[in-house]
Symmetry: C2
Subunit: 248 residues, 2 copies
DNA sequence: GCTGAAGGTTGATCGAAATCAGGGCTTAGG
DNA sequence: CCTAAGCCCTGATTTCGATCAACCTTCAGC
């Protein structure tokens, strides 16, 4: 299985061989020698939950692949109100081409491991590999789709629907069992109730109440505040509000 | 002024010469001969307000530059709730690379004129011009920024702040006077109260009340329900809620 | 052990926006 | 002319989720 993909793996850096970013992430666009060139400039980091990756403080001048964990992207109003505008899972690409001051903050929601590259290396790669830019475009369009999906949730769904939709999204992104059409799911919530409320545009009290309500109705089970089991995904789906966009 | 840009305009199709898309849109990425090739396949359309451009109905298989007018992108839940997830102004590029079923609807909000290309022509151009893909990436990232900006508005701003923010965005996008730091502005609202409410995630009654409130307070003047005059942009800005993201 | 802080749950109350309802203005068509 | 349909505004009432407040559990540090 690994073999089939790696028949021509000669020249691929050892570190990159098992890397998910090569299979589904931006590195998948690169030829072995491009990859080798990029890998020489790369460095790996393990980040503690809560650590700020991009923000007003230190203008981190690099790009990274998310190898594991979850990164939250937030925007704040000057009076402290905060909104999470995106979540990045492995193997998403983190960083913002063409822009220094992004007015966005990135923070490790869970423990996170990153594979980072200096800005210059990425920009060089964008010049020499059209396929790489192509991948970046694909990822950007995916993020755009997700953002728009959440705009519907933020603007038009009720609090119970918001919480159900959130659980569904998390289940689909980090469920241990890979089957996308699985009938049940079990996972760790990657963030606190306060984070979830910042994601859904509601308060943490409301998040708590809605989780309780789902638990009471037998839709989910919760252990240790974090571990969630969904026995019937379809029941959860039915709580998400009108199925998104009827378009066939 | 036009001259300076067009010293080497030999080979540029006549239709494209005055086109805004060449200056600020995706066509700006193209060499004269690429442009000529693309122009041969292009067609111009004038669309009435309310006409659906992309949707479940007819899967329009083309891409377009918006030459004038405003296009609204919407997503709907199956029970009829609707959310506008984006507005496209000239010279934005309309259409979705890599995907047929987009689960998104596009509709002319005002009278719109388009310059359309068949899907195949655009895909060929993406293969032969890396600079073109580069432009598409830039536009996608811009749209992503805008979407995220609006997520903050949808999730964390009050109704009065939402309406003020909307007016501010419109003013900056379609104000007749070009100066971005203008102290005052005057423009036509490109959509009905119902559309605005679908954009802001509130009801049309609330939009109406907030507009009245802004009018009573002397922040704006309204003629014919559509024509809005903002005498002091800074007063309007102060009504938009905490200034977005403090990041320097 | 005690203490304090952080995260979470639950209850009571309040308020902003939704909902329900009516009425005005403009435009198109008989 | 009259009528009907859109679009918009405004008032009365209701409701969902915010706010305020209390309490629980866990965990780190002394």
């Amino acid at each position: 299985m690994t073999l089939r993909q790696d028949i021509h793996s000669s020249g691929i850096p050892v570190l990159c061989l098992p890397c998910e970013a090569r299979r589904r992430g931006v590195c998948g666009a690169l030829e072995p020698d491009d990859l080798a060139q990029l890998a020489k400039t790369s460095s790996r980091h393990n980040i503690e939950p809560g650590v700020e990756l991009i923000g007003d403080a230190e203008a981190v001048d690099c790009y990274s692949n998310v190898l594991s964990g979850v990164v939250k992207l937030t925007k704040s109003l000057s009076d402290g109100r905060q909104q999470i505008v995106g979540l990045q899972f492995a193997p998403d690409f983190l960083g913002r081409p063409f822009k220094m001051k992004s007015a966005i903050n990135a923070e490790a929601a869970t423990a996170v491991s990153l594979c980072s590259f200096p800005r210059a290396a990425i920009e060089r790669m964008m010049k020499q590999s059209p396929e790489f830019v192509h991948r970046l475009l694909k990822q950007a369009l995916n993020e755009l789709d997700e953002a728009r999906e959440w705009m519907v949730t933020l603007g038009r769904k009720t609090a119970p629907e918001k919480v159900a939709s959130f659980l569904l999204m998390i289940a689909r992104n980090i469920d241990s069992n890979v089957d996308p059409a699985a009938r049940s799911a079990c996972f760790e919530l990657p963030m606190t109730r306060a984070d979830i409320s910042d994601f859904l545009g509601i308060t943490n009290e409301t998040v708590s109440r809605q989780l309780t309500s789902l638990r009471m109705d037998g839709v989910i089970r919760i252990e240790n505040n974090r571990r969630v089991t969904v026995d019937s995904m379809s029941r959860l789906e039915r709580r998400c509000g009108g199925r998104g966009a009827i378009a066939v």
